[in-house]
């Protein structure tokens, strides 16, 4: 427990993992852009976008693992923070369309013209600036998590009750965003994006750059989580997870710890959503669906909660399986497979794929001094 927490986080788990991410962030775009499509080494653009999407999911899984695996907060509404980050990015992308929209209105997005809105609502102001939108990507989910957590954790809402109100939160947001008069495009959501920072969102180079940005964001998120869990703060989180009342009797303000980690986690989820939207080209209220949040929890359970690396692996594996199975003859049975997977992991691999192999977040061996 000596040395700066920032350096302590770089250990024999983090360094190889971060190295791998760095290699992926560089090699995949190069193989996509520099190789001829005829070469055996060529990585097709659809794969780049597909995996870019998976890496965004992995960042969301990491955010869930941080609070669930280390602090025992089972959020079944983390998709809400992901979607809010996505909407903030979507609003920026909408404002970039300008006169290229169907109605060619320089200011109003198409859906507002269609609904005969006379002017841009105030809360859309500023979203034409990338920096402002980027700030909102972090600020809006963070603020919502802070306010929600402030009330929930102070009232000592824990366990299944907390999970239920997080579900209610995302469900309520979904109903809100479905409404046309909410001003976010109703059930169609936001789509038909043209450029991001002046680059065409459809081009190979932009897609490769978004892929690299997603991997880098995942790397930063992973490092941040490692810093948190390896610090004394992280040890207190585990203490809260295992014996909340005991931690309180030791004099720790449990609600402050929970509030801080919950807010950080929501900000990470928001960033994941913001990187996801330009890669899939749409954001609509179905992203708030409670089932999405539950699915994200399953990724973490499969990979191994309280391991961080497991969350990333779980998210990528389950989503790869989803893509594979939902595009073939087995498509109608995907949800059964997902449910079966969750049951199987819970019964046979309670610590997930990685948790079985490694000592999860639980006491680290003493560093050599």
């Amino acid at each position: 427990m000596t040395g700066s927490p920032l350096i302590r986080a770089l250990d024999r788990v983090s360094i190889p993992f971060l190295g791998l991410l760095a290699a992926i962030a560089i090699v995949v775009p190069v193989l996509n852009l520099a190789m001829s499509p005829l070469s055996a080494w060529y990585v097709p653009t659809y794969l780049v976008s597909l995996f870019g999407k998976y890496f965004c999911y992995a960042l969301l899984a990491l955010a869930i693992d941080l609070i669930w695996g280390y602090c025992g907060i089972l959020s079944l509404g983390h998709g809400a923070f992901f979607a809010l980050g996505g909407y903030a990015m979507g609003m920026y992308l909408m404002r970039q369309i300008g006169t290229r929209g169907v109605y060619a209105d320089p200011i109003l997005p198409d859906f507002m013209v269609f609904l005969n809105w006379p002017a841009l609502p105030v809360y859309w102001y500023g979203f034409q600036h990338f920096a402002y939108a980027a700030l909102m990507v972090v600020l809006v989910p963070g603020l919502l998590a802070f306010v929600f957590g402030w009330f929930a954790f102070r009232s000592r809402v824990t366990g299944v009750y907390l999970s239920i109100i997080t579900q209610a939160l995302t469900f309520a947001l979904m109903l809100g965003f479905f409404r046309n008069n909410f001003g976010f495009g109703g059930n169609n959501g936001l789509t038909d994006f043209k450029d991001i920072l002046g680059f065409n969102v459809q081009s190979d180079a932009t897609r490769a750059a978004l892929f690299a940005a997603s991997v880098v964001a995942l790397g930063i998120g992973f490092y941040l989580c490692r810093v948190i869990v390896r610090s004394k703060f992280g040890k207190v989180l585990i203490a809260i997870r295992d014996a909340e009342a005991r931690t309180r009797f030791l004099g720790y303000r449990v609600e402050s710890y929970k509030l801080l980690v919950f807010t950080v986690s929501a900000c990470m989820a928001g960033i994941a959503g913001a990187l996801y939207v330009p890669q899939v080209g749409i954001i609509n209220p179905s992203e708030f669906a409670p089932a999405n949040s539950i699915e994200a929890v399953i990724w973490v359970a499969v990979g191994g909660r309280g391991t961080l690396v497991g969350a990333v692996i779980g998210a990528i594996l389950v989503n790869y399986a989803k893509t594979t199975f939902t595009s073939g003859a087995l498509a109608p049975y995907w949800l059964f497979m997902l449910g079966g997977l969750f049951v199987a992991v819970t019964l046979l691999l309670p610590r997930g794929i990685v948790g079985g192999a490694q000592d999860p977040g639980i006491a680290q061996p003493r560093p050599a001094e």
Partner: protein, 250 residues
């Protein structure tokens, strides 16, 4: 701050707690002097644990006064604030952090800044390292310092919890059934440990085991149905008619 109203470190006056009409504590009054070690005994349901809950802020009394150090009204503070004042509690069932090592359990309990922000950038000082070493020595847990607490033997868990209590550097220790489930040898060692701790701290020990209480050789308070029925040395209280009646159910 109000003027000091009593010389006692812990002062309970007329404390009443009811759960759905059941009076767990009924007009309970008790004063623990600084430096004292007090044993509290009583049959099941006498209110021993509820009394601990009231002092540590887990349960709010329906009536009565609870003062710590003569000035702090414990009925208006929560668990964290009371812990910060210097009241440490050991639970009946040993509750250590099972997935942390013995050393990290002590580290988390060590007195220091508990704020979330500070915990993020915290680095261990030389002084803290030495304090942990001393605690490991006192509780004879040095050999298992790197062991995950969940894997400790029952007696070791109890000592670890006592060690965590000491790490908080409390003025008052509330110890709930420290020898439950211990072997005779472990019980004797625990008596030594508690006497050692009592040299510079005030203790309240709740226990069922009369042999253990006799070995502690301190003033005893007998609770029954939420109030005090006898107080004095172990010999005095065991000769008390009312105590015999309660214990033997005559």
């Amino acid at each position: 701050m109000e003027p000091r109203t009593t010389s006692a470190l812990l002062y309970l006056n007329g404390v009443t707690v009811s759960f759905d009409g059941f009076r767990a504590l009924d007009n309970l009054s008790l004063a623990i002097e600084p430096g004292e070690m007090r044993a509290i005994i009583g049959p099941n349901g006498a209110g021993k644990t509820t009394k601990m809950d009231v002092v540590t802020g887990k349960t709010r009394p329906d009536g009565g006064e609870v003062y710590f150090d003569g000035t702090f009204d414990l009925t208006s503070l929560d668990e964290t604030e009371i812990a910060e004042l210097g009241v440490g509690r050991k639970f009946q069932k040993p509750t250590v952090f099972d997935s942390h090592s013995v050393e990290n359990n002590l580290r988390l309990a060590l007195k220091g800044d508990r704020r979330a922000r500070k915990a993020l950038s915290w680095r261990e000082s030389e002084d803290e390292r030495q304090r942990i070493d001393r605690l490991l020595e006192t509780t004879q847990l040095g050999a298992v310092r790197d062991t995950i607490a969940g894997g400790l033997a029952h007696g070791q868990k109890q000592w670890l919890e006592i060690g965590m209590l000491l790490a908080q550097d409390p003025k008052l220790l509330l110890v709930d059934e420290p020898v439950a489930g211990m072997t005779d040898a472990e019980t004797r060692q625990t008596v030594e440990l508690l006497k050692e701790i009592n040299r510079d701290r005030t203790l309240v020990v709740v226990e069922h085991d009369m042999a253990f209480v006799r070995e502690l050789d301190v003033k005893v308070t007998v609770l029954h149905e939420g109030s005090v029925i006898a107080e004095g040395s172990i010999d005095q209280v065991s000769a008390n008619e009312r105590v015999i009646e309660v214990y033997l159910g005559r």
